[in-house]
Symmetry: C2
């Protein structure tokens, strides 16, 4: 099967950025555009390097590519792995996954497998649940467990802006999918 | 990116089968062949219907396609979703995921998102860990949680045969990958 990012993503250039907030602003732009283009859920992600390069980015493609596992984080890991030519991203650098929402149960499991060493997230699980999405059976202690594995987590970056993106999705009338 | 199953999978025809054991025997054959062909880890999966048809099957492709998320379950969900044309597999039937090992943290999260209603597994988490693989931060209560979501789990089907497949992988000298 062929997994292609939406064509509009070509037009949203990764920014020169200096900090977590500006990286998050880029990712929120992708999530907002994903709603407007109706190419998937209100979620986006980017894998960035310590020297502020965007290695790969992705958006939720569940409904447009018809596959439940195509969350933004999974798509981004696939794109980054293809670009860097390895399943062990840590071999190529200490990368950060910037995501517009805390990871669901599946994506929480995927991030360590890819060798990602830092997570920067925007809205929280409860914000996602508040608009009707489910986060799955995620261990309560996921952040402590990440920390013990050498993965650091920075939460709530531009959380208010992230909430507006979730609200825009609800307002669009698009489907809230949860495996059914 | 293009995700293709190994060519040898074309030659391993899904069997006519009548029960969980014969479905598992097919999936173990795929896992064993995946070791011999050196196309990935010692894990395979199939999505099967209530009337005993194999909808899709997959093998672990982490090391051959260079992507940490290409566990057998994820590959199988992608192939089944493409074949059935939906992210909500439950819309097309009550499907069972037959897997050669209990799901890791990521795949445990993925199975409910795909709308799969039954899991049949072979070796246990501890068997997988015993040969050096990690299962991730998986909730202790995952089976109870599945049950509460209407997903039933049958464990230990041909577990001894499954152990032999894991041992064959170790004996092959292939890499035990865990995100590093």
């Amino acid at each position: 099967m062929n997994i292609a990012l939406p064509e509009w993503m070509e037009l949203v250039k990764p920014p020169q950025y200096a900090d977590d907030e500006s990286a998050m602003r880029y990712v929120l732009t992708l999530a907002q555009r994903n709603i407007e283009e109706r190419t998937g859920g209100p979620f986006a992600a980017a894998l960035v390097s310590e020297d502020h390069r965007v290695i790969a980015s992705g958006v939720n493609l569940v409904t447009s590519l018809n596959c439940a596992v195509f969350h933004a984080e999974i798509v981004t890991i696939m794109m980054a792995s293809e670009r860097l030519g390895t399943w062990a991203l840590a071999e190529r650098g200490r990368f950060t996954m910037v995501i517009t929402a805390e990871p669901c149960a599946m994506c929480m499991g995927a991030i360590p497998w890819a060798g990602i060493k830092r997570v920067v997230s925007c809205v929280r699980d409860e914000d996602v649940r508040a608009v009707g999405f489910n986060e799955g059976n995620k261990p309560q202690d996921w952040i402590e467990h990440y920390t013990s594995q050498g993965i650091s987590v920075t939460r709530d970056v531009l959380r208010n802006e992230g909430m507006k993106v979730l609200e825009a999705y609800v307002a669009s009338g698009a489907v809230i999918y949860n495996g059914e």
